[in-house]
């Protein structure tokens, strides 16, 4: 009886550890699709006028960073907790400050750690995707992969029968973004679980 109990516990722990991260993440995306798509759309709209990336630099979501890309220079700013100069910096770079602060607040609420516009190349053509990482609570602290990353594309993408992102139609080459294999959420969005957020 004792042995049976012991093996049952081991089996349960094993199953919990192996619970499909993919399903966990796809579910997470579906549950929060509206918020995530809204963040992506607003980011793209602002990015068109003022290219930037936003990051959260600590676990408590209090230390943030922003990269602002101009024609000549990329400015990288970090703001420690208690510092109120984020708004001043945004103003100096001619951003719409309330719009940006609302976006950052929403991102923090979604536990989004990094958002950027990432370039990729298809048949020699430069294209962009929105790359968004979240610190996934459900992954827990014991797992190596702590970040749930979503890539949003403008055009429908191609996937193999395992749902892995391919580099083009009828290709066997799996496309890697930042060295990671991505899995299908829908035709224009895919995800991965990673141990780094950018």
């Amino acid at each position: 009886m004792r042995n049976y109990l012991f093996y049952s516990i081991i089996a349960c722990l094993f199953l919990a550890a192996c619970s499909s991260s993919k399903e966990l993440s796809a579910d997470y995306y579906r549950q929060n699709e509206e918020a995530l798509v809204s963040i992506k759309d607003r980011f793209k709209k602002i990015h068109r006028l003022h290219p930037f990336s936003f990051e959260v630099r600590d676990k408590d979501f209090s230390e943030v960073g922003i990269e602002i890309i101009t024609d000549t220079l990329r400015y990288i700013y970090h703001f420690n907790p208690g510092e109120n100069n984020l708004a001043d910096t945004l103003k100096a770079h001619r951003f719409n400050v309330p719009e940006m602060l609302t976006l950052f607040a929403d991102m923090k609420q979604m536990r989004c750690t990094w958002i950027t516009n990432l370039d990729y190349y298809e048949r020699g053509q430069e294209k962009y995707m929105v790359f968004l990482s979240l610190r996934h609570n459900k992954l827990g602290s014991k797992r190596k992969e702590k970040y749930f990353t979503v890539a949003f594309f403008d055009q429908p993408q191609f996937y193999d029968n395992k749902g892995r992102l391919l580099d083009k139609e009828k290709s066997r080459n799996i496309m890697k973004i930042n060295g990671q294999v991505f899995y299908k959420i829908n035709s224009r969005a895919c995800f991965t679980l990673s141990d780094t957020f950018r």
């Binding site: 220079l73 990329r74 400015y75 190349y121 020699g124 702590k146 080459n173 141990d195 950018r198």
Partner: protein, 304 residues
Amino acid sequence: MKQATVHILITISVWLTVRTPVLANKFFNHFPDSTQTSTQSQAIAWLDSVQRTDSSRFWINVPPGIFFENLRGFAISPLKFYEGRTNNFCAYSALTFLPLKNDPLGFCQFMLKLYQQGRASYNGVNFRPGKAILLEAGLLKFKGVLDLNPAAQMWFLCLADRFKGYLNFVNRNFDKGDENTLWASTNYAKFNRMLRKVCKQKVRARGADIIRPFINDMFSYIKERLQRGTVFLYLNNRFLYRKKHTFSRFSIPTHYIIVLDIQKIDATKINLVYWDYGLKSLQQISPKLLRKAIFGVTHAQNVK
């Protein structure tokens, strides 16, 4: 009396030798750069005049049209030279800053010879890439704009193939995907050796792979050297670009950058302007972080 005169003369000559850089700096604002051997316009004029070649029988995955476009890019906008994502080419990219800045014509001529003949030498360093390298250039993918730059891929792969350090001992021969592995990585001694050989400049280096250099005032040290040449920093990338939220006590250097400018704003803030990933970046950091991040400071002087 004669002896005293000799002593005075020796003292004056020693003082002048020591002071010359300081005086030169004072009067000319910066040291005359004797390493500049050709200009951007010369390189562009040469590229316009050169006969376009057919596909190379050595670099079969590098189309000539794109290759020449890449060379033009090297000459026109050297600061856009991009090392690519998720690979270990940052050291090679940092090093290339000097040939592109000081000798764009010579570098383009070398690249064309390498393309046409499959082997070439630059500043006396012979490059004879193996078959695996010849086949791979032009095929690297998902590296950002490096995907469209097979000429840069050729150069990076040749450098990684030609120069070896202790980090490369476990993986000496190139296999597919090795641009992301220890095969392409560069320890500090290897970087300095490459710089001395490829760029033929006087190079002074302070630092090591695991131990930080003992420099009291890092800001002043970098600032002073910046006026007399090019400064490369070997640092822990985590301090510049955080990728995780986990804290690690063990810190190792992983990245090479070129310092373009450094300014002290106040006692707690330093503006560091540097070049990496094909961009000029300005980052405000504290003196403490600067000291913590840096494991090596290499100074390539503006004299041969």
